[in-house]
Amino acid sequence: MNPLIPIMVILPITCALLLNLIHTKERSVKILAIIVGIALPAIPLLANYGMHYFGGYSPLIDNPQMAQGLPDMITQSALNLYHPAITYSFASAQKIFVFILGLIAFLAIFTSLSEIKKASGVYAFLMFMGTAAVTAILLSDDIFNLYIFFEIAALSQVGIIIASRTEKSYETALKYLFLAAIAAPMLLLGIAFLLGLTGNVNITDIIYAINSGLVDPQNPALLMACGLIFFGWLYGSGLPPFHSIKSAVYSKALPHGAALLQAFSVFTFVGLGIIILRIFSFLPFTQVAIIVVSLLAMVLGITMALMQTDFKRMIGYLAVGELGYIGIGLGLGTALGITAGLFQAVNEAIITAFIFIGFGTILYKTGITDTNKLGGLMVENPKVALLVMLSGFAMAGVPPLNAFQSKLQLVQASITAGLPELGIIMVLLSIVTFMTFMKAFYTIYLRPKPSELEIKNKEIPRATIISLVVLLLICLILGLFPQIVTGQLEQLAQGLI
């Protein structure tokens, strides 16, 4: 047992509850949020790999003391291998995902505390709660536990939108919650089918039951479970047909909130995507379905981004489009493809946070998100403009930044998998992403400043600039030394094929 594994979930939840209790005490909120925020990325770095069993014990095969005296019908059957507890699994891939999620959460909270004039304990509470929920989705090997945190993540996201208090935030929050109230029960119904077939909700045990012939792999109920869980995955990640509401969610949140919300989507996408691949990869259409949905997300997300005049909505659509790249990698089903897809997930979470916080400086300075009303901001703060430009370059996959490496690997993977068409589409859509970003950058920073444009805040908070520099450094490091991450992710990819 490794005590740091449950701490990754318990600490942000405890902090969230405390923040809710002391939400009126601004100074205490700031101190607590910063301390726990720093701990979030530190814990996965310190934790050893292993398993943690909540409310139960390890399988009998690893637990001879417990097995002693039990009848043969238990010790000589599959029950000997089953996990009679809620199991959390922490390996090299989880280490990277939880670290990146924790880092983005910290930077988002750090930025929000400096940009919001009166620190809101409730806002920080929601950010920590969402982070805890998505961390649990990444760690949990129990599909029902995953469903619980899937719901908590949805509620936290709704809360972040409402707490942002932007125009029409309540309307968007209600729409998102309505869809959650359909998608989450569908996910639960899928889990119920799996439970009915295998008698288990532990993912490893479900896979064992299917692979060892305890369950007929052609059972229609298994196909039904696959479809329902797939539907929940589409909702949680914001893939079509949920791409529009997801981008609306990002656009209604404050930029630091949106930076964290998109990280929730990316890691929910990865967490549930891996589970779908683990359980259902024997079905011939699973990978095809993932590729089709991912292609749709890429094409719809990026082309719709091109048409937006609200820069928050534009980034929202770009973020949805970038999810498609991850899906293509997972859908290819080869070790290189899955590694590249997971690497792209790490990169996308970082880059989109970078872009949201970067563009957030424009909202902070002017209070405007409509690009038609903006212009000439380069002279106001050229250093921040440079950082924002680099964030866009990173998303488009310009070398030597990180997405260049992951997108290159994805193109290579699609060619080696015999699907070069996918590689061509990915390259073309990267060019469109670059064009979309440059169009917005020109409108906001380079064209003459409109006479009616008023600058509300002259100085950008130092915390925001520090966050941008940290994110840029990570983009550079991962762009120059991708093996830091890919080496770790490869182990998971090998396990999946």
């Binding site: 109230a181 989450a184 909700v201």
Partner: protein, 120 residues
């Protein structure tokens, strides 16, 4: 006869889900939509409860004097019930948040028509 009860229960669960989906997608009144969404959750919960049903089974509590064999053969599977309890709690929380938002929207718009509030 007991199997019929299980079958009837499955059909009821399916009917609740379909009815809930219809209400959530096609009704205009936000409160009616929420009731529909609650139906979907209830249908799934009923499906789970029905999964754990064992004809002639007993509650999963090892009472004094009960033999291990009797317990092993007769006790129903407790996992679905534990899951349903959790699911009910989560469903109630989601419902509360939805109704809270609807109250706020009613104060703002003076109506609970989804067409008037949610259509951009």
């Amino acid at each position: 006869m007991i199997i019929d009860i299980q079958l009837a229960s499955f059909f009821t669960a399916a009917a609740l889900i379909v009815l809930g989906l219809f209400a959530a997608l096609f009704l205009d009144n936000l409160i009616k939509k929420v009731i529909g969404l609650a139906f979907i959750g209830d249908g799934v919960n009923l499906f789970l409860v029905t999964l754990g049903f064992k004809p002639g089974g007993i509650v999963y509590i090892f009472l004094p004097g009960m033999s291990a064999d009797t317990f092993a053969q007769s006790a129903s599977y407790p996992l679905p019930y534990a899951m349903v309890l959790t699911s009910i709690v989560i469903g109630a929380s989601t419902l509360a948040v939805m109704l809270g938002i609807i109250i706020m929207l009613y104060k703002k718009h003076g109506t609970i028509s989804s067409k008037k509030i949610l259509d951009d």
